[in-house]
């Protein structure tokens, strides 16, 4: 029974720290010239993308996790549901990213339960920014970089979809149309820019089916040149994970639906 007064008491990460359950990575000693960075190669996950379309926001991620040149896992889940209307997609080190997503998910729930109201979109965006900032020590040591995308719906405000990407230090950038991060993101950004500018329709005008096609094509393009991006594994039939946020909530597209769409418009 701690004293609940003081603003930090309502902050879930602060609560975890009080119980010794969460440590700030920045408290670890930084790597110096006399103590070179370890040769340990962390597992990394790439590539993620998100864009707005007629039905809300589509968030997609390939399934590959790598460590250096090694493929560690080919069914990684990088598109994570944080609450009923928010998704955090992760590129970077999954060990750190999944923990970060867990902290964020619990933070939002803890806030709602204790304060008896939903956290605002700005509050949610800031909460993730703070977690990234706290993790920056790991980034400097070369073992814990996370570069997420955050997508949500602003119910309390204008009732519009909101989309952000972050850098490793925690700066958030709101985008109007699309975002992509991870090692395959240059190719993905190229595809999305091209589609948005010279495609038959702007991304925001796409139907759900066409949006899925664009997402699959973009990830397949990224995988063509980037070995760390899984794209679509035609032999093992592994498809990217696609989730859609709309007013009604979050919908995960069934694999058969993605497979059928892939067969018809991408393969």
């Amino acid at each position: 029974m701690s004293d609940p007064l003081g603003a930090a008491a309502f902050d879930f990460p602060a609560l975890l720290r009080r119980h010794g359950l969460l440590h700030e990575a920045s408290l670890l000693p930084p790597v110096s010239a006399s103590r070179p960075a370890s040769t340990f190669t962390p597992t990394q996950a790439t590539t993620i993308l998100a864009f707005k379309f007629t039905g809300g926001v589509l968030v997609a991620g390939d399934r590959r996790a790598t460590a250096g040149n090694t493929v560690v896992y080919d069914r990684a889940d990088k598109v994570l549901e944080i609450d009923r209307h928010s998704i955090m997609a992760i590129a970077g080190v999954p060990a750190t990213a999944w923990e970060m997503a867990r902290v964020l998910e619990h933070s939002l729930q803890y806030f709602r339960r204790t304060q008896l109201q939903e956290m605002s979109v700005d509050g949610k965006v800031r909460a993730l920014s703070k977690l990234l900032r706290d993790n920056f020590g790991f980034v400097l040591q070369g073992i814990g970089i996370v570069v997420p995308i955050f997508a949500t719906y602003d119910f309390a405000g204008d009732g519009q979809a909101r989309l952000y990407f972050y850098d490793a230090m925690g700066a958030q950038f709101e985008v109007a149309e699309y975002a992509a991060t991870g090692s395959g993101s240059p190719a993905v950004r190229g595809v999305l820019f091209y589609e948005n500018r010279w495609g038959k329709k702007r991304l925001q005008k796409l139907s759900e089916e066409d949006a899925v096609t664009v997402a699959l094509r973009a990830l397949d393009t990224a995988a063509e040149a980037d070995t760390a991006t899984g794209g679509v594994d035609r032999h093992a039939k592994i498809f990217p994970l696609i989730k859609i946020i709309s007013r009604a909530g979050i919908k995960t597209l069934p694999e058969e639906q993605i497979a059928a769409r892939f067969k018809r418009t991408v393969a």
Binding site: M1, S2, P4, F12, L15, L16, H19, L21, R84, R102, V103, H106, Q109, Y110, R112, R113, T114, L116, G249
Partner: protein, 259 residues
């Protein structure tokens, strides 16, 4: 003054009497199983009395708002840290109530130089079927009762708290007679409001010994609702999301109570 055992017992008895007097005007709270979940219902003026504790756990409380708040915060903190460090499946109402809240309440109650918690609480955890639902009434002295106040061979699929024991007993009598745990939300709300009305009438008038007729209950309720509102929340039995708590909005309440 309290070095002698007798003085201590006397001090505890005084404090019990004091707390009971403080809790007596509390508006009753009803929690009951229905086919698709657990429903909490009460009637109040402004202050929220039904709360979300965790994915499948809710709380209803009467007493001093400051004490309720401290206990509610403690319950949320405990459940949230457990759910984070292990998993949501490891959060259990039974452990939360018996091993965390009860000892703290008992200690505060028996430390006669400190302030006790002025709160009476009802917790519920939704299960896969009405038989798996758990109701726990947690008293200011740390005593915990599962289900109803009076002994039953079958654990009842409901639980109530009220300001006074006779009021709670009359509510239980009504629920034993009228409640079917496989009913719809609409039927559950109807019987819960009847139970609330019976409890409210019994608490206000010592002459109400039997369950009043339905028309009398309705009249009492309509009178009370001129200056108060119905508050309700549900814990849903199934759903895509792990979070099963949902407060029932005014619009839905109106629709559900429409004949």
């Amino acid at each position: 003054m309290i070095e002698e055992p007798y003085r201590w017992v006397e001090a505890i008895a005084n404090r019990r009497e004091y707390i009971e007097t403080q809790l007596a005007p509390g508006s009753p709270i009803v929690a009951l199983s229905y086919r698709d979940g657990i429903l909490f219902v009460t009637v109040g003026r402004a202050r929220q009395k039904l709360f979300e504790i965790y994915d499948r756990i809710a709380l209803g409380a009467i007493g001093h708002p400051g004490d309720i708040e401290r206990l509610r915060m403690a319950a949320i903190e405990l459940a949230s840290t457990e759910g984070f460090t292990r998993s949501a499946g490891d959060v259990s109402l039974r452990r939360l109530a018996f091993y965390s809240l009860s000892p703290v309440l008992k200690t505060a109650f028996e430390q006669v130089y400190g302030a006790p918690y002025l709160a009476r609480m009802i917790f519920a955890e939704v299960g896969a079927s009405p038989a798996g639902d758990l109701f726990l009434r947690v008293e200011y002295d740390g005593a915990i009762a599962a289900g109803g106040a009076s002994a039953d061979t079958q654990p009842p699929r409901f639980s109530v708290i009220s300001g006074t024991t006779p009021s709670a007993e009359l509510m239980e009598e009504l629920l034993r007679r009228d409640h079917d745990s496989n009913c719809t939300l609409r039927a559950a709300l109807k019987v819960a409001l009847d139970a609330w009305s019976a409890g409210s009438m019994r608490a206000a008038d010592d002459e109400v010994k039997e369950i009043p007729a339905h028309a009398t209950l309705l009249k009492h309720r309509q009178e009370k609702l001129k200056s108060a509102t119905v508050e309700a929340c549900v814990l849903e039995r199934s759903g895509a999301s792990a979070i099963r708590y949902r407060s029932v909005a005014d619009g839905e309440l109106k629709e559900l109570t429409a004949a």
